[in-house]
């Protein structure tokens, strides 16, 4: 039975399908087939609505009314991006409106040994890249926005870390939005070799507060055995924009993945981790710190699949909601029959600061192995009056007391960042945003 769509939805779908057709005019035989099969799926499903189980709390009714397009390239100077650069030393990669910018990025030919960074566009003509692109196609096809991403494949970052390469210097990837109604469609692939170690910081920012743009990211991260990946994703776009990010993470035995998502901007944002723990003795830490106010909807999700023995996964997701903001958390820990001795923990804590803020949360466990230790916890409430009283009794004015408690609450997930300078940088941005 074919699905029926509203005229608004149908028109949005036709628009994005047309964009896909336009891309196929360029000569890229490997991508055309992939885009076309994704397009067929997209046209069949359309965008999710609140009737879909996974989209019940995140509404897209406003989103489908704007038709985002692929605009041309805009030129920025070093001065334009200066405010967004971090205080810590890092290898810098800059993408402007989703296109790789050679002039703003560091010289990628002079990277430390063992690291190669290329833009996805450059790899389009390489036959192997098409094969690699399809490696996780099955998982990618499960997510509506990832399907849309495949349909509109054009650019992104491809990072390859060789075996045994240990990067002292973090990689900093800056995504800047400059044009209104623009669609940044990013496909990133990060491959980390055995015993390698890398720290990756991604920042999503808008150049001005007025433009409304869409960022749709898919990252595929492959982590070989004994390798470590530490990641921080900071989403700080303006309050008109839309952000969708699907990260597919595949871990081999004894590897470690540690990620923090700091979600601050956008009218509607949704960050999803899909972690597949495909070996023994894997460690995964997924934290998020989200703050939303006004009419924002902030959605963070994790899907963690324990497939082998002795896996360890830990999560802490914290939300602070003010104004009429809606917070959405959805977590799933799935423990396969073979994954005995799993230790899985998921915590979600939410602070509501206003009368009209709303929190919808769904922490889930699906367990098929008996010798496991799994738990989840969730708590939602307002600031404890006694805590405020305690501070007031010590001479701290009420507004300041509220801010102190809120700040301390929101910064807890950040502690997972082991790199001191990065931790301070994220903490500072979070604190500043809270202070308005």
């Amino acid at each position: 039975m074919a699905k029926k769509f509203t005229p608004v939805m149908q028109s949005a779908m036709t628009h994005y399908a047309q964009l896909s057709d336009d891309l196929n005019k360029a000569e890229s035989p490997y991508l055309t087939a992939l885009r076309q099969s994704a397009k067929a799926q997209f046209l069949e499903q359309g965008f999710p609505t609140r009737r879909d189980e996974d989209w019940g709390y995140t509404k897209l009714t406003d989103f489908v009314q704007t038709h985002f397009r692929l605009q041309g390239i805009s030129h920025l100077t070093q001065a334009d991006i200066l405010p967004f650069l971090p205080s810590f030393g890092a290898t810098r990669i800059v993408l402007v409106d989703g296109w790789f910018s050679e002039s703003l990025s560091d010289d990628l030919s002079a990277l430390p040994k063992g690291v190669t960074i290329e833009s996805f566009e450059d790899l389009q003509q390489v036959p192997e890249s098409a094969v690699q692109l399809q490696a996780h196609q099955q998982d990618v096809a499960q997510e509506p926005f990832a399907v849309m991403n495949t349909m509109l494949l054009n650019d992104g970052v491809v990072i390859q870390i060789d075996k045994h390469a240990v990067l002292e210097m973090p990689l900093f990837v800056l995504h800047v939005q400059t044009q209104p109604n623009h669609l940044s469609n990013l496909r990133n692939r990060i491959t980390v070799g055995e015993y390698a170690d890398v720290t990756l910081v991604e920042a999503y920012v808008s150049l001005s507060d007025d433009l409304c743009a869409l960022t749709n990211v898919v990252s595929e991260i492959d982590i070989a055995s004994h390798a470590r990946v530490k990641q921080v994703v900071l989403q700080q776009q303006n309050k008109q924009s839309y952000y969708f990010n699907n990260q597919f993470v595949y871990q081999a035995e004894h590897s470690g993945f540690n990620t923090l998502y700091a979600g601050l901007g956008c009218v509607t944002s949704r960050h999803q981790n899909h972690v597949y723990m495909n070996g023994e003795h894997i460690e995964t830490i997924q934290n998020s710190a989200c703050y939303a106010t006004g009419a924002q909807t902030v959605d963070s999700r994790s899907y963690t699949e324990h497939n082998q023995e002795h896996g360890f996964s830990q999560q802490l997701h914290k939300y602070v909601l003010d104004g009429e903001a809606v917070g959405v958390f959805n977590g799933m820990i799935k423990v396969a029959r073979a994954a005995q001795k799993t230790d899985g923990q998921m915590d979600n804590k939410n602070l509501l600061l206003s009368d009209s803020a709303q929190m919808d949360t769904k922490p889930q466990l699906e367990i098929y192995a008996d010798d496991v230790k799994c738990s989840h916890g969730s708590a939602t409430g307002q600031i404890n009056k006694e805590q405020i009283f305690y501070l007031q009794a010590r001479g701290i004015p009420r507004p300041q007391a509220v801010r102190m408690i809120t700040e301390a609450f929101l910064l807890e997930p950040v502690e997972v960042v082991s790199h001191g300078a990065i931790r301070e940088w994220v903490a500072q941005i979070l604190s500043q945003t809270l202070r308005g």
């Binding site: 029959r337 509501l352 206003s354 929190m359 949360t361 098929y368 989840h376 916890g377 969730s378 939602t380």
Partner: protein, 497 residues
């Protein structure tokens, strides 16, 4: 040393499975043979009319049924639960079955003064074997015994009438208290609520009706025992329980069915209305036939249970021990509308063999300072799947609402699954909502500790499981708690060799 240890744990599981595969524990699995009147298989408007005519129902009840049936036909069978089953062929069931009484060839009704003369001796024997007191005797409990589609006997009625308490079968209530039934029927669970509620509203067989007048504390426990006997029949009971202002009642429900090799359908609807300052305690021990090892047969249990705390300070408490059914799909819910009202849900769900249970609760907070507690204990053994699915919703009006949820799961054996799917929606900042869930298994050190003290492995498991469930069992009425404990022990029997 470690090799020896591995050996014991693997043989241990083999023995578990071997023992579980033998279907000897279901003691209620006998069949009663008696003359019955059963409708032809199939479901259409004529059947709905025939059921209504059979029960000699007034026009409004028939209208309610037809409206529900028309709506049901437009709905699709839901499959969102975590249970796999082949779509049900609704035409392959009979929607009415009742024992004909030998004495008068079905001409008399259950309203007859002298209960002993009317009850079919075979049916009476069945209830005696189940230990259900269907005659007015010394038992300190009032019982409504339901056999397939009809209520066989309702005891202690005169005694209860002295207090103004109405305790009768649903069919009788339709005849004798139409104004009350009309006032409350479909108010908590409307006929269009969900697929199975619509089906139930269309073909509702029998059930229990309870009304407790203002300020009355019901002196004895009220109870209903449901028995499905005929093969290929569905049971669709409808229960309405009303506690008027300041009253109190404790209501108990039990059930069983014979061993059959085909699925049997059970789609009940329970509506509970709790007025100001009233309290209702609703306890269920569900022991429908769970099916055999290969998932052949068993009861498909699709139940909609919902209560509303209509007035201030009302309290509704659901306690359930679920050990039976091939598939359970059941979410006893509380709508906390009155200010300061309290909703409670205590549940132990045990699944074994290939049982699939998807059960939990919904707590909808509407009134100010409403409080709810959810304690759910899930035990999975054999090749079963046990799911907790629950919703806590705090609406913007629910100032100062409070919820505490705890879901613990225990896995026994490595072929089963335990899942937790909570939905928490908070729209008021003054609400305090907490949710905790854990999954674990019986620790070997715990077993070792007990065995070292001379307790057999079987007894140790039983002890640990009972300890795990204690919080819930302590909420059940005394005799019932004991029954639940025994049932649990039987269902787990042989789970460790």
């Amino acid at each position: 040393m470690s090799q020896a240890h591995e050996l014991t744990s693997s043989t241990q599981y083999e023995e578990i499975n071997e023992l579980l595969s033998k279907n000897k524990h279901y003691k209620e699995g006998f069949v009663t043979t008696t003359t019955v009147e059963t409708f032809e298989k199939g479901l259409n408007e004529a059947v709905v009319r025939a059921i209504s005519a059979k029960k000699n129902e007034p026009e409004w009840m028939l209208e309610f049924r037809l409206k529900a049936f028309a709506h049901w036909q437009k709905m699709a069978e839901p499959h969102w639960g975590k249970a796999k089953y082949t779509p049900i062929d609704y035409q392959d069931y009979s929607y009415y079955s009742a024992p004909e009484c030998g004495a008068c060839g079905g001409a008399c009704s259950t309203e007859s003064e002298n209960a002993e003369e009317v009850i079919d001796p075979e049916v009476a024997k069945a209830f005696a074997a189940l230990g259900v007191p269907i005659y007015d005797d010394q038992a300190n409990i009032a019982v409504d015994a339901i056999f397939d589609s009809v209520s066989i006997s309702t005891t202690k009625r005169e005694e209860l009438e002295k207090f103004g308490i109405i305790f009768c079968s649903f069919s009788e209530a339709v005849q004798d208290h139409p104004e009350l039934v009309q006032q409350y029927l479909g108010t908590v669970v409307p006929y269009h609520d969900n697929y199975f509620a619509a089906l139930n509203s269309a073909v509702a067989s029998d059930g229990t009706f309870v009304y407790v007048p203002p300020g009355v504390r019901c002196p004895i426990d009220l109870s209903t025992y449901f028995r499905i006997n005929e093969a290929k029949t569905g049971q669709f009971e409808r229960t309405i329980l009303v506690a008027d202002k300041g009253s109190y009642v404790s209501y108990i429900e039990g059930c069983s069915a014979p061993i059959r090799d085909t699925y049997q359908l059970h789609a009940a609807v329970v509506e509970v209305i709790v007025h100001e300052d009233a309290e209702v305690k609703y306890s269920t021990v569900q022991n429908w036939y769970p099916g055999d090892d290969d998932c052949e047969g068993g009861i498909l249990n699709f139940v909609t249970k919902r209560g509303i705390c209509e007035g201030k300070n009302a309290k509704l408490s659901w306690t359930q021990a679920e050990t039976g059914s091939a598939i359970t799909w059941k979410y006893p819910s509380c709508i906390l509308k009155g200010d300061n009202s309290i909703g409670e849900f205590y549940s132990v769900a045990l699944t074994n063999r290939r049982q699939q249970a998807d059960t939990g609760t919904k707590m909808i907070h509407i009134g100010k300072n409403t409080r709810s507690t959810i304690i759910s204990k899930g035990l999975s053994a054999g090749k079963s799947d046990n799911t907790y699915r629950g919703m806590v919703k705090i609406l913007p009006s629910a100032e100062g609402a409070r919820n505490f949820t705890q879901c613990d799961s225990m896995l026994i054996g490595n072929q089963c699954g335990a899942h937790t799917f909570p939905y928490i929606e908070v729209e008021n900042p003054t609400a305090q909502v907490e949710h905790e869930a854990t999954t674990s298994r019986i620790g070997e050190d715990q077993l070792f500790y007990c065995q070292q003290r001379g307790i057999s492995e079987q007894d140790a498991i039983s002890m640990i499981v009972n300890g795990f469930c204690k919080e819930v069992f302590s909420e059940l009425p005394l005799e019932f708690a004991q029954e639940a404990e025994e049932l649990l022990a039987i269902s787990l029997e042989g789970s460790v060799g």
